[in-house]
Each structure stands twice: as structure tokens, then as C-alpha cells.
Symmetry: C2
Subunit: 416 residues, 2 copies
């Protein structure tokens, strides 16, 4: 797929409820102590959907992932149920409780439990309290709505230490047919997506085959969620799912159809918006860091190098301190495990406050420290690395955040 494919997309409200055929809702059921924090949500379609997902690559996987994988074997689903506050991982009765969550959703919606995907996020190793979810079934059903309130409730219910909800939607045209796509996601620690180290639920009314949807999901994850690093920890419960209702009325997309690239681009763009929010809202973060590497031998090599930079604790701490410590950028490139010539590297920091070139031909350049501080004091920092190891158009980027006192504070005592 061309990186330069541009599609006319219009931002719209409504999140996962924006596409035709979807409802959503969320309530506080009591898994979390804070009664004002919603902790269970449901996203559902009025018809059977094409569905696809990617999951964490952690060997230790949450029970909900095993259940969702089974339910998705036929490439079809109609709903997602998700709780926060407990990961249902390494805990007694894991799969039984995950199946029970699917049953609760199926009963609320009057559908087959095998058409429900299930996800959980929160503390690992404690039995999921299933009774609160059962007791909240009526409230959850009542909370369902087809307007933006439904998506808003769901987006809030999946949050853990996130400080703001992540929710986007847009409309676009496929051969003149108006289609919509919307999504919600949550971070905000344990983020080193190998697939996506977070939860993201996306809906669309596009008609698409299961195989094409799975390929699009995998492709989109590669250059978006999988490039984020908050703390290098790959969660046990990451899941990114797409439900496609097919109600938009477009001709069904297959992997070979010319519109497949258009859909993949739209999906990727939505994932990029969610990914930027996830990185920006990394635990304790004050800044969004984007590292873009140009001129590597392949986009994959460029992404590995970029991710090594945004993953470096030393780079992250320097960004927190607005310190143009480019030596740490070179150091992180050097241990990424990708071959390149250190003698031709160029590094530029830039932000809304301007830019500062700090390294050329692998050597430091004199620069105005005060100007560099101003550039790095912004809350969106870009690190542009140019290699001369491949074609200059070859490009890969990664997203991260700074390392702050608050990260330590939040994670020094998460369970209590």
C-alpha cells in the first residue's frame, strides 16, 4: 500500500456508534471501588458482522483472549463486552468467567454467545468478580444507545489509569458510497505493543470479507499500535478488534479489490489517531514523542530504529527535562539491532516552537541551548533521524512519551 495514498476523510462525532448499525453503553458494576468510574461496557451490532482481531504476543495471555479467539474462528461476531479493574489473567476460573461475560452480553442482546468477543484490563492474578457484572446486566442494557452517549460511556468504561478517553470517528466514500468508521481505545501503562499493548475496539459499516478485514487489521496495527512504547512492558491482555456491519451499502471489499487499500488507509489513519492519544496519555507522561527515521534499508528497519529511540529510558527522561541530549538518541539507534552507518546519521529535534539540528554525519553540531530548550518544552516533540543507509523515501515512525516522576508514582503502588 502506498504511504502516500490520500483519502478524503471527514471527522464526525459518535465514536463506535457513528457507523450504521451499532449501539454501545457502559456502567459502573462494582469491580472498581470508585463508584463514579464505569467499569464494564458493551458494543453491539444490529446484525451479524465481519470481525477480526489481533492479540498480544505475550506468552502469558489473559483468559478473555483465548475465548475471543475461539469465538472469532468463523470471522463473524456481533458484540464486544469489556471490563476494567481486573485483567482476568493468571487467575482462577479465567475462561469460565470470560465465557460467563459473553453469556451476559448474549442475554442482554438476544444473540448467540459465540458471537461475542470479550476483553478485560486491570490487575493480574486476582479472580474476576463475575457477580457484579451479572448484577449490572439490566443497567448495562439500559445504558445502550446508538448515539454518541453510548460510545462515550463505553470509552470511559475501558479506561484504567488513562486521563482522557480515546475516541474518534470519520466518514469517507468508497466509490461514491458514504461509509463510516469509529473507534475507542485505552492505554496507558504496560504499553509496548507487540501487537498493540492496549485495547482498541473499532466499528465500521463497510462491507468486507473476513479475510480482507483480518489483513487490514494486521497491516494497520503494524504501523500504528505496534509502534507505541510507553514503558516497554507488553501486556498480557492486548486486543484490537474490528466489527464491520456491512450496512453502508458498498460492494463487498475483498483483498484483491481496488478499495481494499482505501479501507486499510482509513483504518490505519483511525488507528494512528488513537495511537497518538495512547502515547500522549502514557502513564505519567507530559509529552508525546514521535521519532521518524528516514533512509533506512526498509520500513520495518526504520520502525525498529524509531521504536528503540522512543523506548529508551534515557531519551524519555531527557525529553522530560527538555534536554537536547542527542547522544542518547544515537546510543538507542546503535543498540536497536539494525545495521546502519553511524557516521552518516543526522538528528533534528522539532516542535511547534521550531527546530534544531543537533547531529550531522554522526557528530554533534553547535546549537543554541536556549533555543533547543524552547523547542523541547512543547508537549509534542518530534525526533527526525536521517540515515543514508537506504532510499531517503523509506520511512518508519514510532510513538512514545516522556518518563516522569508520575510514572514511578503511579506504578510504585498500582494495586492499592
Amino acid at each position: 500500500m502506498s504511504e502516500n495514498l490520500k483519502i478524503n476523510q471527514t471527522p464526525i462525532p459518535g465514536g463506535v456508534c457513528a457507523p450504521k448499525g451499532f449501539i454501545a453503553g457502559g456502567v459502573h458494576c462494582g469491580i472498581r471501588r470508585n463508584q463514579s468510574k464505569k467499569d464494564v461496557c458493551l458494543i453491539a451490532a444490529e446484525c451479524e458482522c465481519t470481525a477480526a482481531a489481533v492479540y498480544t504476543q505475550n506468552l502469558v495471555k489473559g483468559a478473555p483472549l483465548a475465548v475471543t479467539k475461539r469465538h472469532l474462528e468463523n470471522g463473524r461476531a456481533r458484540a464486544v463486552i469489556c471490563n476494567s479493574g481486573n485483567a482476568n489473567t493468571c487467575a482462577p476460573w479465567g475462561e469460565a468467567h470470560a465465557e460467563a461475560m459473553c453469556q451476559i452480553a448474549a442475554e442482554i442482546l438476544g444473540i448467540d454467545e459465540n458471537d461475542v468477543m470479550v476483553a478485560s484490563t486491570g490487575v493480574i492474578g486476582q479472580e474476576l468478580p463475575i457477580d457484579p457484572i451479572k448484577s449490572a446486566a439490566d443497567a448495562l442494557r439500559i445504558s445502550l444507545s446508538a448515539d454518541e452517549n453510548g460510545s462515550d460511556a463505553a470509552a470511559n468504561a475501558i479506561m484504567t489509569t488513562d486521563t482522557f478517553k480515546k475516541e474518534y470517528a470519520c466518514s469517507f466514500a468508497l466509490n461514491g458510497v458514504e461509509c463510516k468508521i469509529g473507534g475507542i481505545a485505552k492505554g496507558s501503562g504496560m504499553i509496548n505493543p507487540n501487537m498493540a499493548t492496549m485495547l482498541a475496539f473499532i466499528t465500521t459499516d463497510v462491507k468486507i470479507t473476513p479475510q480482507a478485514l483480518q489483513t487490514a487489521v494486521r497491516n494497520a496495527a503494524k504501523s500504528t499500535f505496534n509502534t507505541i512504547c510507553v514503558d516497554g512492558d507488553t501486556s498480557t491482555n492486548d486486543m484490537f478488534t474490528v466489527l464491520a456491519s456491512g450496512l453502508a451499502g458498498n460492494r463487498e471489499i475483498t483483498e484483491n479489490s481496488p478499495l481494499f487499500d482505501v479501507f486499510t488507509r482509513v483504518l490505519t489513519d483511525l488507528c494512528t489517531l488513537l495511537s497518538r492519544d495512547l502515547a500522549r496519555d502514557g502513564e505519567g507522561a507530559t509529552k508525546l514523542i514521535t521519532c521518524a527515521v528516514y533512509g533506512a534499508s526498509s520500513p520495518e528497519a526504520a520502525r525498529v530504529l524509531a521504536k528503540s529511540v522512543v523506548s529508551s529510558s534515557l531519551v524519555k527522561a531527557a525529553m522530560f527535562g527538555s534536554d537536547a541530549n542527542w547522544g542518547r538518541v544515537l546510543c538507542a539507534l546503535g543498540y536497536a539491532g539494525v545495521d546502519f552507518d553511524p557516521e552518516t546519521v543526522e538528528v533534528v529535534f522539532f516542535s511547534e516552537a521550531g527546530q534544531v539540528k543537533v547531529c550531522e554525519s554522526g557528530r554533534g553540531l553547535p546549537f543554541d541551548e536556549e533555543h533547543a530548550k524552547r523547542v523541547l518544552r512543547e508537549d509534542e516533540i518530534n525526533i527526525k533521524v536521517s540515515l543514508q543507509s537506504g532510499s531517503p523515501e523509506i520511512f518508519g515512525a514510532a510513538l512514545g512519551c516522556d518518563l516522569t516522576y508520575d510514572y514511578v508514582k503511579i506504578n510504585g503502588d498500582y494495586r492499592t
Copy 2:
């Protein structure tokens, strides 16, 4: 080599000056602003030594490493010169300045400059000020001594953000001949040894062939320095060198001689002492964390798993908060890239205050939170992980430290 080989070793004072034939010294030359901080040191032998070294695996390497590698091609050397405050990496005139440091050492000692190893540690990307080192040559010569003051000065001169010096020595017998070994090392950030992500200089009076010494050095690094993780950042300037004067009078050790294992064990034990200090003194650290994994398919697999645990920001932050958050331990094992059965994992935390088993068969156990807090409030924490994936005697360990506010503070503005 048997992990169980026990050798009678007696701790002795004197550090790198303890073995026969060595002198050392260190002074403040002015690379660092703080006049009370020594910043250049010299370790030298009265005769030509067998010498060996391992270096960082970072693709971006400091200029001193290139020069040292060249000088070590014949497996012989007589001295090490090292400065702190500037890494002489990605900076103008790097190799020329590193060669100049060797010349300065050679002139002080009246030896060939090709017999000098050189190392630098500090900020990356700024030209090394060579004049202060030249001007300090006389003072450095005067500081040389064969007693513990010489080693003490050298150990202090290589420190950067280290809060205490790392220095050990011991005596042991080889076939009834008394031999000695001593070493100094520095940390304390950018520690993720791939070789050893730090500097360590070891001396011994053992007689040993260059090839046997190189093998012993490589073996010792594998289970000691290379298992430490402070922040996951592999430095550009890591170097671990050994000088063997051969003055002890033992029959020369070859790789096939029965005493090779004895020497490797003694060397490894010394490296372990230095490694524990490096981890304990990780930037901002308040606790030494040791993770030991039993029952893996190989010692290497066990080390990879253990290192993943001590490298996890979430585990490190939990240890800072004395939080028995074993789910994060399982999570870190799960993304280590090594195959094991999550359903059979057992996790025990222990310290001088007692022990607490928190996970059995991959599931959480009820435990007394107050007791767990007491166990984890100590400054040396052990995390014992038992798998059932291999033989229970197969063992590997890694060393790390907690992640604290002070790590962020120290690294938020390192250059100023």
C-alpha cells in the same frame, strides 16, 4: 564449568593493586567541573601482561574502544588509562584523542603506547578536552602507588553518577601457589550490558595464555555484567578488561589445563561482586533486585527470562513501592521471547525479612499483604521463579534495581 565448583577465596584489601606487579592512581585534571572529583586514572603493570577485553555490542561505539581493540590484537598490554566526564564518542577527533591518551600513559610509564588500553565515560557527542589530561600527566604519575591508595584513587576517578566506589580483591591458591585478583568498576545509568554496559578493570598476577584469558573473560561476563539491567540502555562505551601479570609463579594456565575452571570461577566471583554493586548503585536505585529462574530449558534461557523480569519498568516500580505485584513478574516472563509453560510457574519473593510465595501453577496464592510489604521493604530483594520446563537444577539469574523518582531526576537533565 560446573556452577558448583567452590574455591577457597579470601577477601583482601588493595583492589587492582592487590595482585603482584600493579600500580594505580587517579587525579582531577579538569574534564569535570567539580574540582574534588577525580576524572582520570591509570592502572599499570611493572611487566608486560596477558590482556583480554570485551566491549559493548552497541553499533555506535566510543573511539577508545576502537583504539583499545587495535592495541589488544596481540593479547598483550601493560596499562589502562581512563577518564570520566566525557565519553569521546560521536565527537570530533575521537580516535586521535584516544591515541593521545595512550601516548600520555606511555610517556608517564616509559612503555610503548601500543601496550595501553584506553576507556572513557561521560557525555556523548562533545570533543574530549585532551589538554587537561596532558597537563595532568605529572600529577597522575605522582599519584601512582602500589598500595590500596592507588586503587582507591582509580576507582574514584572512573565514577560518574555512582554513589560509591566498586572495588574488590581476593587471594586464592592454584596448585598451592598463592594468587591474587582485584578489580574496580563503575555504573550507574545506561546499564544493560550487552556486553557489560559499564567499565570494569581487573588485574591478576596469575600466569595465563592470552586465549585462555579471553575465554575466561567472555565466560565471566556472560553470567555477571551481562545479566545486569539498570535502564535497558546499552552504552556506547562499555568495556571490561583484565590484565594478568603472571608474577604469582603458577604454571601457565591454558584453556585445557585443569586450573582454567578454577581461574574462571574466581574471575566470575569477582565480577559477581562488582555486578551486584553496579546494580545496587543503579541511577536513583534504593534496592538491589535479583531474579533467579530455575527449571528452564537451558541456563541461557533462564538468564533471558530473569533479565526480562529485572528489566521491566513495571516490576522495578513495584519493587520501589514494596508492592508484591507478581502479575508483572509473570507478564515480563511472558514477553521474554523464551518458551515455557505459564501454567506451572511458581514465584516467591524473599529478603532478609522472610519470604512470601505469591504464585503457584501460574495462579495467585492468598498471602499476607503486611508480611509481603515487610519482605519487600528490605534493600536486597530476591525474586525466585521456578518453571517446570526443564531440569530443576538449570539455573540463571539477573541483577537489577528499582525504578525511582531519582532515576527520572538524574536523567532529566544529565548534561547540565
